[in-house]
């Protein structure tokens, strides 16, 4: 309880500092304060395109997140079983980890256009995170328990539930937590560069064009909130599993 109070006070203090700095600068283009940001958020939420943009962006980012996760987990399993697959995938994973998102976005814009860019970018960002964490988790699975399962001819589903999942759970937790945050960051960045219509990225871009700093902050708060909610839901799902 004391921890929550301290955290709330700290957050409130930063909001007050933000408002004070905005009042001192006294220029809404350079820095919009929290009051202006909330006002912009309320105003944006009343526009017909706001909710469409939120759903469109969230849906695409979550789809990319889902695809990247599934591909990462499946390939990690295959790489764990066949070491040549791990060797084969190593350069690709290293490239996906180190090449800037902007480079991929521009390349994908040339190849596919802007409409589904955030889905592909999210999948590309999420894939190495899930792949590497799952592979590490599989490698750390207790070989003696696996041998026991082999001797008892334990069915595959039960091996997954009782041996693999408990060992993979902490790896999944940290990977999904990191991946969902990265998905929203990279997905929105891809939308800002690619500018597909009726998306949060497009809204952010328009804020920049019209120098609407309050709108920019309002869209940012929306992204942070969606990302936070998605992270909490995913963490809960893993806990249940």
């Amino acid at each position: 309880m004391q921890k929550i109070v301290r955290r709330t006070i700290a957050a409130a203090a930063w909001i007050i500092i933000w408002q004070l700095v905005a009042m001192i600068i006294h220029n809404k283009i350079l820095l919009a304060g929290p009051i202006d940001t909330v006002a912009a958020l309320v105003s944006l939420s009343k526009t017909p395109s706001f909710w469409g943009s939120v759903w469109q962006t969230t849906g695409r980012i979550l789809l990319g997140f889902f695809l990247g996760s599934v591909i990462g987990i499946i390939l990690a399993y295959i790489a764990h079983e066949k070491s040549w697959v791990e060797d084969f995938l190593r350069p690709l994973v290293s490239a996906l980890k180190s090449v800037p998102v902007a480079s991929f976005v521009i390349l994908l814009l040339i190849w596919f256009g802007s409409s589904n860019i955030s889905i592909i970018i999210c999948a590309m960002v999420v894939f190495p995170i899930l792949y590497l964490n799952t592979l590490e988790g599989l490698k750390s699975t207790d070989v003696k328990l696996l041998e026991m399962a082999k001797v008892f001819r334990m069915p595959g589903g039960r091996r997954l539930r009782y041996i693999y999942l408990p060992q993979l759970s902490p790896f999944f937790k940290s990977a999904f937590k990191l991946a969902i945050g990265m998905s929203f960051k990279s997905g929105i960045a891809a939308e800002v560069i690619g500018q597909p219509l009726n998306t949060i990225g497009n809204g952010l871009y328009l804020s920049k064009i019209y120098l609407e700093t309050a709108d920019l902050f309002a869209w940012t708060i929306v992204v942070v909130l969606i990302s936070f909610v998605c992270e909490k839901i995913i963490t809960k799902v893993i806990d249940i599993l």
């Binding site: 003696k144 328990l145 026991m148 001797v151 008892f152 334990m154 039960r158 009782y162 041996i163 408990p166």
Partner: protein, 196 residues
């Protein structure tokens, strides 16, 4: 069933643990493998199970069996239990042919009732050992193989465990490794310290 172990040699890091070892393991017979530490008791069990390969010689499953790999009820040298799950789950998880109600009854024969639904990590070493024994005996198997199954059991618990294993042996062979052969005189005692 018969498992024919013929002229088996096995060494680790240049050290010979089994040297031209021969044995026929047959149904309805019990074998008590004894000998000092490092004489190859666990190695022999692993060769029988097909978990390791011998350097020379052969381990063959003779007779008409459905599986290339024998159906085995096994107690490992370590307990190899899923520590976060309770004793009942640890036994039921290994096979779809094992039912919860039966497992509870079986576990009650060796463990106090209050130990059945605690996570295994909260049980004593002896209690974990007994869960391993019940797990090995609960599944339908062609052979029972037990590597030091009585470690951590006091005299009374050991007697009860031996009686339980004997009761569950059925028509398949039973192979036990142990340092202490007390109470196991019903089986053919093979001293690896001498045999190899």
């Amino acid at each position: 069933m018969t498992i024919e172990i013929k002229d088996v040699c096995k060494s680790f890091d240049g050290q010979q643990v089994l040297n031209n070892f021969n044995l026929n393991i047959e149904s309805e017979h019990s074998y008590v493998i004894t000998g000092p530490s490092g004489c190859g008791k666990t190695t022999l069990l692993r060769l029988i199970l097909g978990l390791d390969e011998c350097d020379s010689g052969s381990v063959k499953l003779l007779g008409d069996y459905k599986y290339p790999f024998i159906n085995c009820g096994m107690v490992f040298q370590e307990d190899r239990l899923c520590e976060d799950y309770d004793a009942v789950t640890n036994v039921t998880m290994v096979s779809k042919k094992v039912f919860k109600e039966t497992v509870i009854e079986e576990l009650k024969k060796l463990l106090p009732e209050e130990a059945l639904f605690k996570p295994v990590k909260e049980l004593s070493g002896g209690q974990k050992r007994r869960v391993s024994i019940v797990r090995a005996c609960a599944i339908p198997s062609d052979i029972l193989i037990m590597d030091e199954p009585f470690t951590g059991l006091d005299e009374e618990a050991r007697k009860t465990a031996i009686a339980y294993i004997r009761d569950k042996q059925g028509s398949g062979p039973l192979v036990i490794t142990t340092h202490d052969t007390t109470g196991l005189e019903f089986g053919r005692i093979i001293d690896l310290g001498i045999a190899t």
